[in-house]
Symmetry: C2
Subunit: 227 residues, 2 copies
């Protein structure tokens, strides 16, 4: 039993280490964008394999724990850990995608100072951190605070999309840069989605109530107010 709970702790620690790498990848990709730091952008892409390796490690530990006939609550914890790891791996992919656009944008003059994108990044990263700490500290109430914040990031993404669209119409020479910025905005929106997925899993885990897709539905309607 001691050995078993040691392995459960290892699962938790590995998720936390993975989360810290994923968060740092996003933060560094954004710094590469804002500071036009091309070597840093490249580094983010190179380091993505570390996050990928973590996903495999989490799966290995989880599968091993599952062979030991865990209790129902432990079982849920283990499967949620696997889902969280899948979401973190995708956060890493989004960070790479941001880094790639940061590289592209570094080849051209800067369009204007970045304000909304760093703000979105800060919001998405806070959501991610709160969802993860809710997981390890068994605080579903913290996870619940994450879910409504997804809408704010969605709104910022939509607003930026509209602004950039108009800008492109007025100044077609900026189209390629505007497109790159739209991609980055969408990546940040997706990172917030992953944080929300994790938060929903954590609520499900500790409150034994399935709120997945309830939250999604709300966002859906918000995205189509006229329908």
């Amino acid at each position: 039993m001691t050995h078993y709970s040691e392995e459960m702790n290892k699962l938790k620690d590995t998720i936390l280490a993975m989360a810290s790498h994923s968060e740092s990848a996003v933060a560094r990709a954004m710094r590469a964008l804002v500071e036009r730091d091309d070597p840093l952008a490249l580094k983010v892409e190179e380091d993505d394999n570390i996050i990928d390796q973590f996903e495999i490690e989490v799966d290995d530990i989880a599968l091993h724990l599952l062979t030991k006939a865990p209790l129902a609550t432990e079982l849920r914890f283990i499967t949620v850990a696997m889902k969280i790891s899948q979401n973190l791996e995708r956060v890493g992919d989004e960070a790479c995608s941001i880094a790639r656009r940061a590289h592209d944008l570094g080849q051209e003059p800067q369009l204007k100072p970045y304000i909304d994108l760093p703000r979105m990044a800060t919001m998405a990263l806070e959501m991610l951190r709160d969802a993860l700490s809710a997981f390890v500290e068994r605080k579903p109430e913290v996870a619940r605070t994450v879910i409504p914040r997804d809408k704010e990031v969605d709104d910022l993404n939509r607003q930026l999309h509209r602004e950039l669209s108009s800008y492109m119409v007025e100044r077609p020479t900026t189209i390629s840069r505007c497109l790159a910025l739209m991609v980055i905005s969408k990546c940040l929106e997706r990172i917030a989605d992953h944080a929300t997925n994790i938060a929903e899993e954590v609520v499900y885990l500790y409150e034994a109530r399935d709120i997945r897709h309830a939250g999604l539905k709300e966002n859906h309607e918000a995205e189509n107010p006229g329908r």
Copy 2:
């Protein structure tokens, strides 16, 4: 044991039913686009909750099976089923996203006949079907044929992105339509990514070799040939 294998079959059947709904959502969203069928686009969005319900059902069956101390091979099968279901749920989300753009595009004159997008959709759906049949028929060799096809869909998406970018520069009045088409192209590319994820899980399941992220790495390099 009979009861147990009945439940394993139910898990498989539920995944197949879910896959059929997800595939149909993509096919109908594309038909809504090509035939400018707005009620169909709306229907795709409405029906997304059916796919969401399937995800919850798969999880419930899987969690119940996991409480019964399955053998190591069964255990892997069950966790892979949960991952497949998560990918299928996201395929449903991409279908909704396509349907939403089909609705937007239906409000404006058509830019030009759609050729590449339906082609991409056909490719992505074939990948999805092959990955799923590899899963149920225990054929990792079929799953292996899916993985390299992801690059073809990626290439088509990149090509279309380039074409639409140039088109926008030449005719700024088409920008909003071009952006909608870019989003659809990206959605199809993501559906192919989900098919690839499923295929990689199936190879891992039946060949006990982890090929996840090996494939991803190749794509990564392909996407940045100059780096």
